[in-house]
């Protein structure tokens, strides 16, 4: 499977190895990920509630979105960077994790949802900018947005529960999960991602399994 070859090479980069072999780097990167996506979701929720007419109803929508969304995008960029950093440490495990995949699909939906907004209610902002709520299409987008982001948070959290030793999803044929989650079992053919300094016969066990819930 070419994608696994690619993901394996991602895991083998010095960058990924450094994070994986450090005791504190992964937890700190994960913390920054949490900080950035809480800011993303928190600020998006403010806009969604405004669209629904549930809060900030007396403020101009355009004024609010120009005030807030630049911070949302900055935080989102940080979430993507930290997310990619975490992904690189165990790329194959995440790639094959059903919850990680669901999270990625939901992120795409969040983007499409935004596009729908731009093509519908977004085109007529001048008509409802100072109205207490958006037209029906805008409200529908807001409800979907809140639902999608709550789903993304839940998927993100569950990834941590399904990628730690003992609760890994059933292995996909041809992918060896055990190697990079557990100390090497006997008779495994593929080498783990942390085998940089080891002799090859016994890859060093990863000092910190990143996904301690």
């Amino acid at each position: 499977m070419p994608i696994d070859t690619f993901l394996k090479s991602v895991e083998a980069t010095g960058f990924a190895t450094t994070i994986r072999d450090s005791i504190w780097m992964f937890p700190i990167i994960e913390s920054i990920h949490v900080i950035s996506f809480t800011l993303v979701v928190g600020t998006i929720a403010i806009i969604d509630l405004r669209l629904l007419g549930l809060a900030s109803v007396r403020r101009s929508f355009r004024r609010m979105s120009s005030d807030i969304l630049k911070w949302t995008w900055a935080a989102f960029a940080l979430a993507v960077v930290t997310g990619l950093m975490m992904f690189s440490t165990n790329a194959r495990v995440y790639y094959h994790n059903p919850f990680f995949r669901t999270k990625m699909i939901l992120l795409v939906f969040a983007g499409l949802n935004m596009l729908v907004f731009e093509l519908t209610a977004g085109r007529t902002i001048q008509h409802w900018d100072s109205a207490p709520s958006a037209p029906r299409a805008g409200k529908a987008v807001a409800v979907l947005s809140l639902a999608i982001w709550i789903g993304i948070i839940f998927m993100g959290r569950i990834i941590g529960f399904t990628t730690h030793p003992g609760s890994v999803a059933p292995p996909t044929p041809g992918v060896n999960y055990d190697n990079f989650l557990l100390p090497p079992a006997s008779g495994t053919s593929t080498s783990g991602p942390s085998g940089t300094g080891s002799s090859g016969t016994t890859p060093a066990p990863t000092p910190n399994t990143p996904n301690t819930q």
Binding site: I23, W24, F26, P27, I28, E30, S31, V34, I35, F37, T38, L39, V41, G42, T43, I44, A45, I46, A55, S56, R59, S60, R63, D67, I68, W71, I150, I153, F154, R157, I158, G160, F161, N208, T212, Q213
Partner: protein
């Protein structure tokens, strides 16, 4: 505390929570994260308003009246979901250096947020010079930073071993 945590873990309510562990613990944790998202979004708006970087079409009072109740409501949500998580996994939480450090920061953060939300807006007239002053802005930034620390420490509960000998290191986590 260690003994208390182990006793709590043996109670039937703790057991019930763990029996449904597959979805209940991540579910409650997700709600806890949604709660902190509400707090961070709202706090960011207030801090940006204090700094004059956003929401300048609103007064500080309007801004705190808009976002303050959400922060206080979410703090209550955090308290409840936090208690559920402690009950579900008492040893993981209570025998944990990150957890107790987080609690210290929660106490500081809640006090600072309380000052912002309850005291200043009501006296905005009298405090006008102070509100526009530098120390007020610094206080807003400090409050925000305290909440950043709360998030980091909250996440580090799962990685308490990184504190080395400071951590009461429970085996199995």
């Amino acid at each position: 505390m260690n003994r208390f945590a182990h006793w709590l873990a043996k109670t039937s309510s703790s057991h019930t929570l763990r029996v449904h562990e597959s979805w209940l613990i991540p579910g409650v944790q997700s709600i806890h994260i949604i709660g902190i998202a509400i707090i961070m979004g709202s706090l960011l708006m207030i801090v940006l308003r204090v700094l004059g970087w956003a929401g300048t079409d609103q007064t500080l009072r309007e801004t705190t009246e808009r976002f303050g109740p959400w922060i206080l409501g979410a703090l209550c949500l955090q308290f409840v979901t936090g208690l559920v998580m402690i009950l579900a996994e008492p040893v993981r939480e209570l025998v944990n250096f990150s957890f107790w450090t987080k609690m210290v920061f929660v106490a500081i953060g809640t006090t600072l947020a309380g000052i912002f939300l309850l005291r200043f807006p009501r006296r905005e007239q009298q405090w006008n010079t102070f509100v526009n002053g530098r120390s007020f802005k610094s206080l807003a930034i400090v409050t925000f930073m305290v909440f950043l620390c709360i998030i980091v420490l909250g996440r580090l509960i799962a990685y308490d071993h990184i504190w080395g000998s400071w951590s009461p290191a429970t085996t199995g986590y």
